[in-house]
């Protein structure tokens, strides 16, 4: 019923029936009469009236299908992006993204999107809410939601003619036929509603804006405390002065002689390469070779050798070079910088294959690695005890290789030299 009908005497005819059967019969007549802008009104859905009226199936299911598919994609994308891309974190070794744990949320969002769309699309397709309907002006129409059945033909229908339409309705055996009055009422919601709506819409951004501004801004005022128990706890903090102990320290030192777990280095020869710990009190330059363990306490196996080769490559090669001759890349670089006066007082890394070093006992090599010697820093903190012995074993191999003869090479490899 559109606005330029405001000049018409009435907006249509409304017929009342007592039974659904009468209404259906009437509907078929009206449908067959070629009318297009008409409708029936019943207190409950009457089965069969869709066909009697010629109502085509609604597209609602397709809209819902689309919405559901959107929900599925949203859920999968959300889970994948947040947990596998934006901030990946490992949870008990589970894959960052897997269809198995993604399924519940995917299912729920599919149903949520589809379900919400179902209701709102249904209302939308029905053009509801529509609070000002001219039909409500007909008093009799109140029974449409109670116990009577109505048929309304809109006067805007191209075939509509007051007399013929009325005659048609009378021939269907209607209880009563009313005119739908044209009260001239506008069907557009009142302006003030729109204004209030816009104001509310803007107002709804205020809280979000406040949150955003407080998020982005800084303040030098102290934080608000809502939960004093949490913010001002009775437990002592690490650096706090407390009356409980004589020295006032809340954080207590471990009992003297406490050893951290995994740090009991009880075996002098294994952990420090010396026969007696007392000899470590002597400065390294003054120590006699006899204080050291002669042979490494770890058996010389191929596995240990390989480990030594790997660790040597990581820690030693930069200075000592791959063959242990001291011409590592750091040395090479230094040699380039010295003529440019960019390095002074440079000490060449030791050639570990020389007789001096080769004649040292294993424990001394171990000690050099652990505590450093001359300009070489201590590597004890970076390299575990076992690995240091492995490096010692590898250095021995380097020393042998430096002084090797053709007989030391396995027969199979001699051809390659």
């Amino acid at each position: 019923m559109d606005n330029n009908q405001n000049e018409l005497p009435h907006l249509g005819l409304l017929a009342e029936y007592e039974t659904p059967e009468a209404l259906m019969a009437a509907s078929e007549k009206v449908r067959d009469g070629g009318y297009k802008r008409w409708d029936t009104h019943t207190p409950f859905p009457v089965h069969g009236i869709d066909d009697a009226m010629g109502i085509k199936p609604t597209i609602l299911p397709w809209i819902v299908l689309g919405a559901g598919a959107t929900g599925t994609m949203t859920a999968l994308l959300l889970q994948w992006w947040t947990n596998a891309v934006a901030y990946p974190f490992l949870i008990s070794g589970k894959p960052l993204f897997s269809w198995v744990p993604s399924f519940p949320v995917t299912f729920e969002l599919t149903v949520l999107f589809a379900g919400v769309t179902t209701l709102f699309a249904m209302l939308g397709l029905n053009r509801l809410p529509r609070l000002h309907n001219p039909l409500f002006e007909v008093k009799r129409f109140a029974r449409a939601t109670q116990d009577r059945f109505f048929l309304a033909i809109d006067s805007a229908d191209p075939l509509f003619n007051d007399r013929s339409a009325r005659a048609l309705l009378e021939s269907t055996g209607a209880n009563a036929i009313d005119e739908v009055p044209n009260k001239g009422a506008s069907l557009v919601p009142p302006i003030w509603l729109l204004q209030v709506g816009i104001m509310l819409a803007f107002a709804s951004f205020v809280p979000l804006g406040l949150i955003y501004s407080s998020w982005e801004s800084t303040s030098d005022k102290p934080a608000w405390h809502f939960v004093w128990d949490m913010d001002f706890q009775e437990s002592y903090r690490a650096g706090e002065k407390v009356p409980l102990f004589e020295n006032g320290m809340a954080m207590r030192a471990p009992v003297e002689g406490t050893i951290a777990s995994g740090e009991l280095f009880a075996d002098s020869s294994f952990h420090r390469g010396v026969l007696d710990d007392a000899s470590l009190a002597i400065p390294a330059v003054d120590r006699d070779a006899s204080v050291y363990v002669v042979e490494s306490p770890m058996p010389a196996t191929m596995a240990l050798m390989e480990r030594g080769r790997e660790r040597f490559a990581i820690y030693c090669i930069p200075c000592h070079g791959a063959s242990g001759n001291g011409n590592g890349i750091v040395q090479q670089r230094a040699q380039k910088l010295i003529p440019l006066d960019m390095v002074s007082n440079w000490v060449t890394p030791t050639d570990v294959t020389t007789e001096t070093v080769a004649s040292q006992p294993d424990g001394q090599l171990f000690d050099s690695i652990t505590n450093g010697i001359r300009n070489m820093p201590a590597y004890g903190p970076q390299i575990t005890v076992e690995d240091r012995w492995a490096i010692v074993l590898f250095v021995r191999a380097l020393q042998r290789a430096a002084n090797a003869t053709i007989d030391d090479v396995p027969a199979a490899n001699r051809g390659g030299l």
Binding site: H47, K94, V100, P101
Partner: protein
Amino acid sequence: MSHTMEIPQDLSPEKFVLGQRAGSLVAKAAGIGALALAIAMAIGYAGSDATTSRFLHAYLTSYMYFTSICLGALFFVILMQVTSAGWSATTRRIAELITMNLPLMGVLSLPILVSTLMGDATLFSWVDPSIVDNANPGLSHLIETKSAYLSPGFFVGRIVFYFALWIGVANWFRKNSIAQDVSGDPILTNNMKKFAAPAIPLFALSITFFALDMLMSLDPTWFSTIFGVYYFAGSFGVFLALLGILSNKLGGKGGILSGFIRDEHFHDIGKLTFAFVMFWGYIAFSQYILIWYANIPEETAWYHERENLYWGHVGVLFLVRFAIPFLGLMSRHMKRVPGRMIIFGGWIMVAHFYDMFFLTMPSQIQSLGYLKANAAAAHDEAAVAAIQSAADSFERMPFGGLELLCLIGIGGLFVAGVAHAFSKNSILAVRDPRMSESMTFHNP
């Protein structure tokens, strides 16, 4: 005024007996089936241990498949009675006749029962736990803790009991239903409804323990509380698929039940099938996600065999048994148009076989493993090599001649049984009190 249904005018049960149309199928199907089975047994029993193992697993797969169809039919009968369902009145007799195959399936369990009683641990390692120790030292202790339940005698006794129960219940319902064809007495419906209610828990427990006994115990170290429900979901689902196919054939144009089974029935069977595709998916997924998530090796080993050792079957199973039928059966159109249901009915029947296969065949790998370990312990190099080559060929082609022969064998006998039942009995419950409701109802 209450809704009174008139019993339709004189329908005589004789009109709905398929007679020779079905009868001619009986001899052919039985013949092919028996022959295939005989060949399979000959190959199986005469061959090496590895071949016997393969035969027994293949046999079990097909056996559980066809038994699940019968059990699904039985549940359909009981369910429709207990819910006083009206729509299914014209299709219920089909289900009742399929349950007539239960004695056949009982007899077909003999190869499994006999081999178990004779102490053959090829299929069920718990028959003789000591065979596992060479492959997995100490494992026999775990299996022995269950020996109160997993012992050959008790096992066989239970299987016999289940079949006695099922055959008893199925016969009772069928006899009453057929008697009603003649007398039209509504009291029979009341009685059937009354008995259907307690029949349900009996059915639930018996099918559960049947599944545990025949399928879950293939790996006696694995367990899952939902396993009985899983087998039930598959069974009812495959029966509904078969019902869809049979209804479409019998109720379609020119079919003997055309007019009695209409597009409304196709729609309802389609809806139930869709529901049970979802239900199966739900149960299978529940089992999978819980075991995946907790990641306890005791439980994941079973899925590991089916996923990693055995070309990623879990995903394929979900795709084939759930995702595709789910998407296909969503549309109302698919369910109503005759012929369409046949496509998905057939698909689900094949997918359910794949499900049975998924449950049984990977335990072949374990059996072969035990055989190999025992042969190795006995220093029998030749046997070890033979078993290894059997395992390799199995991995390359898990569905081969033996599996096909067992499927055709048991299937042929099953089809013969159904054809026989259809040829001798009315396929329509002509004087069911709800006949006219079934013939006139509408889906909105």
